[in-house]
């Protein structure tokens, strides 16, 4: 493998919760429990999982929006989580983010030009004004936005148009790496395809690397090169997209795949075991999926399985897969 563009090593994230005034306990929420991923340049690395699995926390930690409790984050072999802000600024220009809800991620009182110029002004302050204007116009054109939008405010645009503007903002500093956190989930069905196509085109034109965070496996199947399936702050399975859909190894991955509604119908007729995510404050000792897992035995409840590489190249954290 070539040199990864982004890598995490043993990444952990813990959040202290408010303490009850009569209690001595200090509850801690474990959002990430030792996540190792390495993202290759030019790929679309997808992270899937249900709410509370830590997928958004992972994206935010990589972007430096949250400081990890333990572990390392590397960008082109350089450790960035401990870097001071002055050193990190030019690296922030290389790493940008697109958020889920374009109604929340754009400042309602700032026009499109100022929204797009802000990252350059802040991260690359030496850029001359003329170049800023040029760059804003070029990313607007690249994302299918009309140049006349520059003086308009976010409320004048539809959801799909806003998400294009948010993508343009992420591109304006010419980044190499983009974290897209559920970028199409808030959009209407007919608009989702437009935005996915835009992301595909931009990747082809600019050689972008994506970390694509989503709960929707059918999007992953179409869009991803590799997938990490997360559950309660851990990677349960990590594999090439084709492998994960053809031969899902982890019981949780299989559960997720079975839950996708199918156009031909029939999959809601099968009996299914009701399940809930365990409490991320009081994590089970063994495998976090054991309480819902049909294969769970005494070992699963006692010992947390580590991610290991199987014969077909898939990595899975399960005592029962081969």
């Amino acid at each position: 493998m070539t040199q990864p563009i982004v890598e995490t090593r043993g990444l952990e994230m813990r959040f202290a919760l408010p303490t009850h005034f009569l209690s001595r306990e200090k509850p801690v929420l474990h959002a990430l429990n030792g996540v190792d991923v390495s993202i290759q340049p030019g790929e679309s690395f997808c992270v899937v999982g249900e709410s509370g699995c830590g997928k958004t926390t992972l994206g935010r930690a990589i972007m430096g929006l949250l400081a990890p409790s333990a572990g390392e984050i590397l960008f082109r072999d350089q450790r960035i989580d401990t870097m001071d802000e002055r050193m990190r600024k030019p690296i922030r220009a290389e790493m940008q983010m697109v958020f889920q809800n374009p109604y929340a991620s754009l400042n309602p009182r700032r026009n499109v030009f100022d929204t797009l110029a802000e990252p350059i002004r802040h991260l690359l302050p030496d850029t001359p004004a003329a170049e800023v204007r040029e760059q804003v116009e070029s990313v607007l054109a690249a994302t299918g936005c009309d140049p006349s939008w520059q003086r308009r405010l976010p409320h004048e645009f539809s959801g799909g148009q806003r998400q294009r503007i948010a993508i343009a903002r992420a591109l304006v500093t010419n980044p190499a790496f983009i974290v897209a956190d559920e970028p199409i989930s808030a959009l209407d069905v007919s608009i989702q395809a437009q935005i996915l196509n835009l992301l595909t085109d931009l990747q082809a034109d600019r050689g972008l690397t994506y970390l694509f965070i989503t709960h929707d496996l059918s999007v992953v199947e179409h869009f991803g090169s590799r997938v990490a399936v997360m559950y309660l702050g851990q990677v349960m399975e990590l594999a090439e997209t084709q492998a994960i859909f053809a031969q899902p190894k982890h019981p949780y991955t299989r559960l997720l795949l079975e839950a996708i509604p199918k156009l031909e119908g029939g999959s809601f007729d099968k009996p299914r075991t009701p399940g809930e995510l365990p409490d991320p404050v009081n994590l089970p000792v063994g495998c976090p999926f054991a309480p819902r897992c049909p294969l769970a035995d005494a070992r699963c409840r006692a010992e947390r399985p580590k991610l290991r590489t199987l014969a077909n190249g898939t990595q899975a954290a399960c005592h029962h897969t081969e």
Binding site: S190, Q192, D201, L255, P261, L263, G265, R272, E276
Partner: protein
């Protein structure tokens, strides 16, 4: 006589002092006992408006400006507030998207359930409690007796939605109207809840109107579908017929745009543009600016719903398949 027959239903909202805009522009619907109908559309298409109008729940300043809602031959729109209360929440139940909005946060689950039951039945507290526990068990809520004393915030999202379904079933309704019942839930929980709704409808011969934007969910659960666009039904028919051979270009576009329809890394089919707001509808067919088959006639006249499709150039079977 059909159980529910909606005829030429119009809903209007004031615009300025004299003018009005129509959110529903003449919708027809019929539903037999025990039948499951999906209503599909993007946000703003009028699908929730249809549900509210059926139960005469359109809030000021909106109003039902025309049409009839015949339930067992009786027009629900003519009933007094007292009269409709005998039907709403009793013979017709509703399930909304967000269970936290439906449930009262300061009352226990038991209190809310017993209250609902006693509003519609002459029943003793002890009997009501027994029936409520039975319903909670029916929707697979573990330790139902103790959950009766729990508050909504003590339950997970999936359990809350189960409670809402249990409440909807309390009065043995003939029809359940479910408005995006699983949109706020995770995929695996969505599969469980939809499987539960499907099973309960089948077992108790309850009719269902399922409002959703998700074609996969509709395919799994319903027998017939109605596709809505800008306040009108543009296509209706048997679910599998429409999914296999859509005849309206909009339906065909929606289906073609699904990520599972394209190979990995390929561009998706995309419908250009977005749905016009009801305040700025084009003359003629509302879909004409986005439609590849639009002709002069489409830009002048609204196509009537004929043979299950409201289009002057409906697709033939071989076209739809390609």
């Amino acid at each position: 006589m059909a159980m529910l027959e909606v005829q030429d239903l119009h809903v209007a909202f004031p615009r300025g002092k004299r003018d009005e805009v129509e959110a529903l522009r003449g919708v027809n619907l019929h539903l037999e006992k025990g039948e499951r109908l999906g209503v599909v559309g993007e946000s703003g298409a009028g699908k929730s408006m249809l549900a509210f109008a059926i139960l005469n729940l359109i809030a000021d300043p909106g109003r039902v400006s025309g049409g009839r809602v015949m339930f067992h031959g009786e027009n629900l729109l003519d009933l007094s507030e007292r009269g409709i209360r005998g039907i709403r929440g009793n013979r017709i139940s509703m399930i909304f998207q967000d269970p936290m909005v439906t449930l009262n946060p300061v009352l226990t689950i038991g209190t809310q359930m017993i209250e609902t039951l006693k509003a519609h039945r002459k029943i003793s507290d002890a009997e009501a409690r027994k029936l409520c526990i039975e319903r909670l068990k029916q929707v697979a809520i573990p330790s139902a007796e103790s959950r009766m004393d729990a508050y909504p915030h003590e339950l997970s999202g999936g359990l809350r939605q189960r409670v809402v379904i249990a409440i909807a079933l309390l009065t043995d309704p003939e029809l359940i109207i479910a408005d995006e019942p699983t949109t706020a839930l995770d995929v695996t929980i969505q599969a469980e809840i939809m499987a539960l709704i499907l099973k309960l409808c089948r077992e108790n011969d309850v009719a269902l109107i399922l409002i959703t934007h998700d074609l996969g969910v509709v395919a799994e659960v319903t027998e017939r579908i109605m596709i809505m666009y800008a306040g009108l039904c543009v296509e209706e028919g048997r679910t599998q017929d429409i999914i296999n051979a859509p005849r309206h270009p909009y339906t065909a576009g929606l289906l073609k745009a699904l990520p599972q329809k394209a190979g990995r890394g390929q561009r998706l089919y995309q419908i250009p543009g977005s749905m016009p707001p009801i305040t700025a509808l084009p003359p003629g067919c509302a879909y004409n600016p986005r439609c590849e088959f639009a002709a002069d006639r489409c830009r002048a006249t609204i196509p009537p719903l004929a043979g299950g499709v409201a289009c002057f150039h409906p697709l033939q079977e071989e076209e739809a398949a390609s």
